[in-house]
Structures are given as structure tokens and as C-alpha cells.
Symmetry: C2
Subunit: 285 residues, 2 copies
Amino acid sequence: MSTEPLAASTHEFDRQTAVRPLPGTAPDAPAGRYAAALTGGWSVGGGVNGGFQLGVVGAAVRAHLPAHSDPVSISAHYLSAGTDGPAEVEVDLERVGRLATVRARLMQGGATRIAAIGTFGDLAAAHEAAAGDERLTATPPDLPAPERCPGPEHTPPQMLEIAPMMERFEMRFDPACAGFAVGAPSGQGRLSAWFRFRDGREPDTLSLLTALDVLPPVTFDLGRPGWAPTLSLTAHVRRRPAPGWLRITQATRHLAGGMFEEDCEVWDADDHLVAQARQLALVPR
Amino acid sequence: MSTEPLAASTHEFDRQTAVRPLPGTAPDAPAGRYAAALTGGWSVGGGVNGGFQLGVVGAAVRAHLPAHSDPVSISAHYLSAGTDGPAEVEVDLERVGRLATVRARLMQGGATRIAAIGTFGDLAAAHEAAAGDERLTATPPDLPAPERCPGPEHTPPQMLEIAPMMERFEMRFDPACAGFAVGAPSGQGRLSAWFRFRDGREPDTLSLLTALDVLPPVTFDLGRPGWAPTLSLTAHVRRRPAPGWLRITQATRHLAGGMFEEDCEVWDADDHLVAQARQLALVPR
């Protein structure tokens, strides 16, 4: 890593997403600017993973709005590829109440990486206020136990070279859709996997932003490997996740005009649907 | 209507979404400001429909970027209720290339109604460039013919009082989920309907933005009528629609913490999936 950590923490992800207010920035002010960094440790195919970048944006907003620590809904448009090195996040408040809406921009050297709008709040309070009022018809992906799913021990070394971010976490693929790794994609347009950080950091609503964009592009399962640049991604975080493994599943139902949508769900160890995302991405060349 | 039309057109929707550049605004400049109006003719439950407002935002961006007339992906966060009267749309360019990304804000009297980020382009050119490369596993809603679906002739007068926007279009509900209108919701969490403008205006990529948010909240089908304020809505327009009826279907799979997601699809007369949206909304009280 070429960048100095901005905060000390037991866990890597917290150090990597740490931000520091720039001079003149105070929490809850109408605008703020935060020093951050994008680490090459989260790079994939030459750029820094979009989900990690979204985590950095979320960390800056959380720093700016201490009473609104959960990213309830955040929409990011990806404008240029993030690279290893320092970054800055600008935060501008649009509205503050029970929920707070902000505009945010992740910049590197004058170039905008991400332009985002997010609504943040307190999901623990929201669930407490609406306790018992729940209806869930979505179902979690049906994955074999983690030890029966291929993981890092099967990752080819050339994959790690292309995707150093794979060293940050343990990802264990559903065998039903792991064929892409050996040139035999299922063709279903779906990928599912277990996910947890390597160093034991438990998930929270910030790391869910990253988890929503860590699987390979779902086009891998259609026999179309290669980089699928995200145009935009909207993340909805629905609940604070329980400790333990996450299950991530994503699918596409429509590829046309050189673009495809990718719907992602993250489920926690308590079988709660904790986050959803939809992105629009470019079909790999 | 208390507002003067900003442009003459054969069709109501075009007059209602017309914008006029404010002094000093030139197309393609880094920033622009457009005079617009929100008409009470699109109001519902005291506010102006969010899909119509998104159409106004789209019209301003289209006016500002003549070569990027299709809203490929637009994310809007709704900050306050729009009311009948003049409005202004600010457009700020973030990036312009084959695709263009803008920030936009819909304002009324100093209050922000919508803060949005959108990526616009030319969907006809995109489909031409990727001709033949399509994969669609989503399926259109299975609706009886329009004449067999209950429509305006069954709309109770008190509904029209609450929702004057119902007079703008002909909406014919799938009988399988039309029970909400007579106090017998299906409980499935799905609503589907035929949709077209009353005055014969054909759909285009601008009106699709509106079509993505014209059905009643899907919570009606869960026996929970009432206003469900949209927190954020992300629209993906996938293709220029064919003339004729649209079919709109929307569903929720997760209501919790006082919020629910609503996934919407719009299909055109040629059985193309032309637009998708996901919104996060507050559960009606």
C-alpha cells in the first residue's frame, strides 16, 4: 500500500475506509470534506473495487452525520476508475431530520470517481419502532455449507494477480454456479457465495455497501468473463446484520443494448435480508 | 392549473413537462437552470406524483444535453412534497462522453423537491451497436386483454378526488390484483396494469420515467392503503418503447423497519422490457 492508514483499528477494513476531517470541517455542518484513501489492496482488473469505494463514501458520510450512521439508500454513479492513493470525499447536506440526505463525491487528484446521493438514518431505531411489522417473501440463496463450497484454496494464482481484493475476504462459491472458474459457466445468469472478512471483522451496515459489489460480474456465469464497468449502483441497507457469514447472491434478467442490470441481495446469519442493490453495468467487450 | 404552459404541443404530457432555459443557460454548458412547472393535474394525495416530477427533471436534462436524450439511469431522492406551481431544475454536468452524467435538482420556492443523479445517452445507438446481443429471462406480466381489465369506468369518484392524476391516463388493472379497489387485496404484494395516456401520446424514454411510478403503492395489495412516501427511486430505461399500450408491474418482497422496496417493470407492446425501477418507500401509517 502506498497510502498511510488514517486511523488505527484492529481490523483492516476499518483502517482502509477510515477518513479524517479536513481543516474547517465539523460534523453536521452543511458541508464537509474528508481525507480518505483508496487502497490497491482492493483493486481488481486495474481499478479499485466499486463496492469498496462506496464503503469509503459511506464512512465519510457516517463521520459527518454521527446520529445517522446507517446508509439506508445510496445511489452512486461511477465516473472514472479509482486508483491506489489518496482521495477526498465531499459531503453536502440536502436535508436532515429523522433521515438525512446528502450528496457526496469521491475525488482523486481533481477527478471525480463517484457522484452519489445517499439517505442515512438509524436502522436499529427504525426496526425498534416497527417491531413485529415485517413481511418477507424473498428467500435466501440455497447454499451448501461453507466447507462444501469452493473457496480461496481453489482460487487460481492468476486470479489473485488480477484481483488482489480476493485476499481481503473469504468467498466460497455455490458449486451450482462456480463453473465459471473452470470455463464451465452455468448460463443461468446467477452467482451466489458465502462471504466474510479474512481477519474476522464482523459485518455492519458500512461493510454491507462493499459486500453488495464484491462478487464477480454476473456475466461470468453467462460465459462472458471480463471487466463489466458499473455505470450506477443503488444500495438499500435494510437492517444491521448479525455477526457471522453473509450469503450474497446476484442475478441478471436482462442484457441488451450493451448493458445489463445486476440485482444483488445480502443475507445474514440470522436469515435476514440485510441489503439489496441494483446496478447497471456495461457488457464486457 | 395555476401555471402557464411553457411550450405548445399537441400532447398534454409534453406541455406539462416542458422547460425553458433561464437567462444565461446554454445547452451543454457545465451548468444550466431551467424554468419548469409542477401541475396539480398530476397530484395524488396532496402532492404531485413523484414519477411526473422525475419526468420534469428528465425533460430539463434532455433540454440541456440534446445529444443525450435518453435517461439510461437516474436516481432520485425525494426531499419534500411537490405542489402545483412553478419550479426550477438545476443541471450540473459531471461527465460528458458517449454517456453523460449530471446532477440535477428540482426546486420550488427555494425548497428542494428532488435531488438526482442521472446518466443519459442514446439508447437507439446503443441498441444498434449491440444488435443481436440480447438475453432476456424476465417475463412480461400475464394480463388479460385491456378490455377485460377494470379501468377508468370503475374508478370511484372519491379516488379521482384524491388522485386527479388518474385523469391523465387510462390504467387497466390486472383483475388478479384489482381487489384492493373494493377492499379485497390479493395479499401477494404485486400490482399490474395496462397504461397509456388518455390523449394518445405515445410512450418515449421520458414518459417511461413517469410510468415507473404511476401505479398505486404496492402496499395497497397488502391491505395497507395510504400514502407511501418515496425515499428514493432509481430508474433504468433499457430501450426506446414501441407505440401502444404499456404493461406495468410492480412487487415488493420485503417490508421491514417501516420501509419496503418496490420493484417496477415496464413492458412495451413489442414485449420488450423497456424500463425498470426500484424504489425504497415508507410503509403507510
